[in-house]
């Protein structure tokens, strides 16, 4: 899966410099004239070998704006996640030194997004696995990233791509800012997120019940556990009610005291501050930090297009390199979901459900297919069956079928043969003959063709008159609903 196409910029694009021999216009995914140029302000192509050190200024389009954008981005990152412009630059050039920084950065960011506890102590291997799983969970399926080595030795450009993808795709900065807000304490909600469950898994002190030798559990024990759970739920409910009640009291008792007229009352944090004034320093620090982040974020938003332009150059570089040195194993790996570890239990259940769903669907499809073929064969058998019956009757006129037709007494042999003839004729015209017992008249199904109908009628009429003295022939016409056939 390719990363999403970056947003188009509106600034005019300088044409691609002819410096790069393997870069015709249509190189990059049929982008035509839309390719971002790696042209500097002075028009010189600046893509140099890995050994040289480049400065930011003058090297990229939108010159001065880029350091501003990158700086704002770095400042807008929440404190545990550290990012410096140098890392970004190194990553563009796929320097290995930037790899570790990027892994750590992504780890910190993704942990925050998923509400987990961020701990420095986690081993690099675990961090890398977590990042890969989390990115997969978010929908980033670029195989090159998932094939990166677990020792953090290479792949900083891939990580840069992933980082930018995250930035755009899940509104990374907005989410982080929302999560790290200074809380007023007035929030009351019942959180149903599964994310919180993964944290509590570590804290269980419940020892698993020891099963008997037959490995069965007494149902009374299960009832016991169920009862305990319900009581604990009720206690939680009572606590929640208490919290709401106290919150209401705070609001009630401080109404009219707030500077903000509309709000009118203090929040929990403000109340706390009144009770313990020495905490104000900490609060001020937090607020200042948040303000700084918000300001950086606003700055970033203004300069964001420049960053994306720069990212396009990264993509260009990547594609060039990709074409120049074809990957050894050209065949695409079957995209299987990576093994999720204990760091992402929610992804585990999700993939399990998806697998189950696909299995069920396949089974259903097979069953349907079976049913359809069965039906089809049964349907096709019907006319075959009838044809068989007809041929049987022909051979043995006194066939054992059709008890429904009335008898006619004294139907002469010649009449019978004539009716048979008629039957053949009618058949040749497309009718279907239903044979009756010996002595009973034959039934005719007549096609809807009017001319044929008349013809047969006339014929029948002659015969009837002829045999009227003999008691008449009752011709019983049955109606078969076959495609196009009508009864008389």
């Amino acid at each position: 899966m390719c990363p999403a196409r970056f947003t188009r910029t509106t600034s005019p694009r300088p044409p691609r410099a002819p410096h790069d021999p393997s870069a015709p216009g249509g190189l990059l995914r049929g982008c035509g004239g839309r390719c971002g140029g790696s042209r500097g302000r002075d028009g010189a192509m600046v893509r140099k070998g890995p050994g040289s050190a480049e400065g930011w200024v003058g090297a990229m389009p939108g010159g001065r704006a880029l350091p501003g954008a990158v700086g704002a981005l770095c400042r807008a990152m929440p404190p545990p996640a550290r990012l410096v412009p140098e890392t970004l630059r190194r990553a563009k050039l796929d320097r290995p030194q930037a790899t570790l920084d990027f892994w750590r950065l992504l780890y910190a960011l993704l942990k925050q997004i998923h509400g987990g506890k961020w701990s420095e102590a986690d081993v690099l291997d675990t961090q890398i696995r977590f990042v890969k799983s989390a990115l997969w969970y978010q929908g980033y399926g670029r195989p090159e990233l998932h094939r990166l080595p677990s020792d953090g030795s290479a792949g900083s450009r891939e990580l840069l791509l992933a980082f930018s993808w995250l930035l755009h795709r899940i509104s990374l900065l907005e989410q982080l800012l929302a999560r790290n807000r200074v809380r007023t304490g007035d929030e009351t909600s019942v959180c149903m997120c599964e994310d919180d469950l993964s944290q509590s898994e570590q804290g269980t002190t419940e020892i698993a019940p020891e099963y008997g030798p037959e490995d069965r559990v007494d149902v009374r024990y299960l009832q016991w556990l169920n009862g305990r759970l319900r009581f604990q739920w009720r206690s939680l409910h009572a606590q929640h009610q208490e919290q709401c009640k106290l919150l209401h009291q705070i609001h009630l008792l401080t109404s009219g005291s707030h500077v903000d007229q509309i709000l009118g009352h203090f929040s929990v944090t403000e109340m706390d501050l009144i009770r313990q004034p020495e905490n104000y320093k900490q609060l001020v620090q937090l607020l200042e930090l948040e303000t700084m982040q918000l300001e950086a974020f606003l700055e970033w938003k203004q300069l964001e297009p420049v960053y994306w332009q720069w990212m396009e150059t990264v993509l260009d570089n990547m594609a060039e390199e990709g074409n120049m040195c074809k990957p050894q194993d050209a065949h695409i790996e079957k995209s299987s979901l990576p093994k999720v570890t204990s760091c992402c239990p929610w992804a585990d259940s999700l993939t399990g459900q998806i697998n189950k769903l696909s299995r069920d669907l396949m089974a259903l499809r097979d069953q349907l297919h079976e049913l359809v073929t069965h039906r089809k064969s049964a349907w096709e058998e019907k006319p075959a069956e009838r044809r068989r019956l007809i041929s049987l009757q022909r051979q043995f006129p006194a066939g054992p079928c059709e008890p429904v037709l009335p008898r006619v007494r004294g139907l002469g042999k010649e009449a019978t043969s004539e009716v048979l003839e008629l039957g053949d004729e009618a058949k040749s015209l497309g009718a279907h003959v239903k044979d009756g017992r010996e002595g009973s008249p034959r039934a005719l199904v007549v096609p809807s063709n009017e001319a044929v109908k008349c013809q047969i009628k006339n014929r029948m009429g002659d015969k009837c008159d002829k045999n009227a003295s003999k008691g008449g022939i009752v011709i019983f016409i049955c109606v078969f609903m076959r495609s196009g056939c009508r009864g008389m």
């Binding site: 009374r220 016991w224 009862g227 305990r228 319900r230 009581f231 206690s235 009572a238 106290l246």
Partner: protein
């Protein structure tokens, strides 16, 4: 975390008053035997649990008083106010002008619905005064007439109005040779109805308390007041603040919830018995010393041998050896003597509680086979002594304590019912024979559940 007490009938009101008295005198006493800080947090926890701070400074009990006659209630109110330490809310009671006959069915089907709104209004008001409603604690007698019927109805209303709150019913088991002829009918009906709506039934038997008064407290003339005071002492020892966790930093704010969770999660097993040691006359307290190992040993044997008090314990009864396969007849014999527990809760109050060893209570042979001691046994402790006892231990037990009394009551009631004696008194007010049969069935189910532990 506050409990709302609902005192029902004459019995309930008198006992309730004694309970609040005991709690209050414990809190104001100077025999805490612990640090000042500890004492203060104990005091605060207790106050939050049972009382509301009023403008006058005298704490007001969180209680609703209900009775058909005005006499007992007015007595209760005045005695409480006289103490000076606490009082009842003047508006938080309900009574009728005249009594209404001693009839369970009358209380349940007539008076209950008639006065439901008034009573529930009072309860609602008390509940709203709590910052956090910790549950309801109702006190009533089981075999009384109108009081018991009304009590069963009120419990049902509580459950309907507060579906997720904890309801603990404290019931007084009547004397075996009681004066009321139909007391067994009343008991059966009350128990079966309470079993449906309440979370747990904590039982005190009048006979037992009477014996305690006679033998342990050495009282000659035992009045109801004495019995009530012993009951109040035992209840106080359970419901006063404790630390429910091993390393708890503050007193538990959820006494009923914790109690329910450890003892009665299973819906079939709701009968709780209560034992408390030591129990002695106040004037002997100063001359006695206690040791935790001794107290714990006695308490454990009281549990195993189903002894009602610390004198006359049968020390021969021992738990069955684990793994010994006994033939069924032998095991039934054993069952009659040995008291199998489902779950136990031990509450220790006083000096050096942190060093006590409760390992003997964690013996798996004490408990039923489908529950292991980790789940079945809990201990609450506090260093603060209770009611002048330097060390005291209480046991709340969900076990076969009440199997025999229950069996007796049901048997006697059934014998009466078989000859339809006095049933017309109930059918007159709408308790039909089917209702009786339902009650019998429910209690038989309870008996069989407890027997096959």
């Amino acid at each position: 975390m506050s409990l709302v007490t609902v005192q029902l009938g004459q019995c309930g009101n008198q006992i309730g008053r004694e309970v609040f008295n005991a709690i209050c005198s414990d809190v104001h006493g100077t025999h805490g035997l612990c640090s000042k800080k500890e004492n203060e947090s104990y005091h605060d926890a207790c106050k939050e649990r049972f009382f509301i701070e009023a403008e006058s400074g005298v704490p007001v009990a969180r209680a609703v008083l209900v009775d058909m006659e005005p006499k007992v209630i007015s007595q209760t109110l005045s005695i409480a106010a006289k103490s000076g330490y606490w009082k009842y809310d003047d508006h938080s009671h309900f009574c009728q002008k005249q009594g209404s006959g001693n009839n369970w069915a009358n209380g349940y089907t007539v008076h209950g619905p008639r006065h439901k709104e008034a009573i529930m209004n009072l309860v609602q008001k008390e509940a709203e005064k709590c910052d956090r409603l910790g549950g309801f604690f109702t006190i009533m007698s089981m075999a009384g007439g109108t009081g018991s019927g009304l009590g069963a109805f009120v419990t049902q209303c509580l459950r309907d109005a507060f579906p997720s709150s904890f309801i603990l019913n404290h019931v007084i088991w009547p004397y075996g040779t009681g004066e009321v002829i139909v007391q067994n009918y009343n008991s059966v009906l009350t128990l079966s109805h309470l079993y449906q709506s309440s979370d747990a039934l904590l039982v005190h038997e009048n006979d037992v308390i009477h014996k305690i008064c006679a033998q342990l407290m050495h009282m000659k003339q035992i009045s109801f007041k004495d019995v009530n005071q012993v009951i109040a002492h035992q209840l106080g020892s359970v419901f006063q603040p404790t630390y429910t966790a091993e390393d708890g930093l503050h007193y538990s704010r959820n006494p009923l919830g914790d109690l329910m969770e450890t003892l009665v999660p299973h819906p079939e097993f709701k009968m709780l018995g209560l034992r408390n040691i030591p129990q002695m006359p106040e004037n002997s307290l100063a001359y006695s010393t206690f040791s935790w190992p001794g107290l714990i040993k006695h308490l454990r044997q009281m549990l195993i041998a189903n002894a009602k008090m610390e004198e006359g314990i049968d020390w021969q009864v021992q738990p069955p050896r684990p793994g010994s396969s006994v033939p069924s007849s032998h095991s039934t014999n054993k069952l009659l003597h040995f008291n199998t527990s489902i779950a136990n809760l031990v509450i220790l109050r006083g000096k050096d509680t942190h060093s006590t060893d409760l390992g003997s209570f964690r013996d798996p042979s004490l408990y039923t086979s489908w529950l292991n001691p980790q789940d079945a046994f809990s201990a609450w402790k506090t260093p603060r002594a209770f009611n002048k006892y330097e060390k005291s231990a209480s046991l709340v037990s969900n076990s076969q304590f009440l199997l025999k009394p229950l069996d007796n009551v049901v048997r006697k009631a059934w014998n009466m019912f078989a000859s339809k004696a006095y049933v017309h008194q109930y059918t007159k007010y709408g308790i039909e024979e089917e209702d009786f049969l339902d009650s019998f069935t429910a209690l038989e189910q309870v008996i069989s559940s407890y027997t096959t532990l």
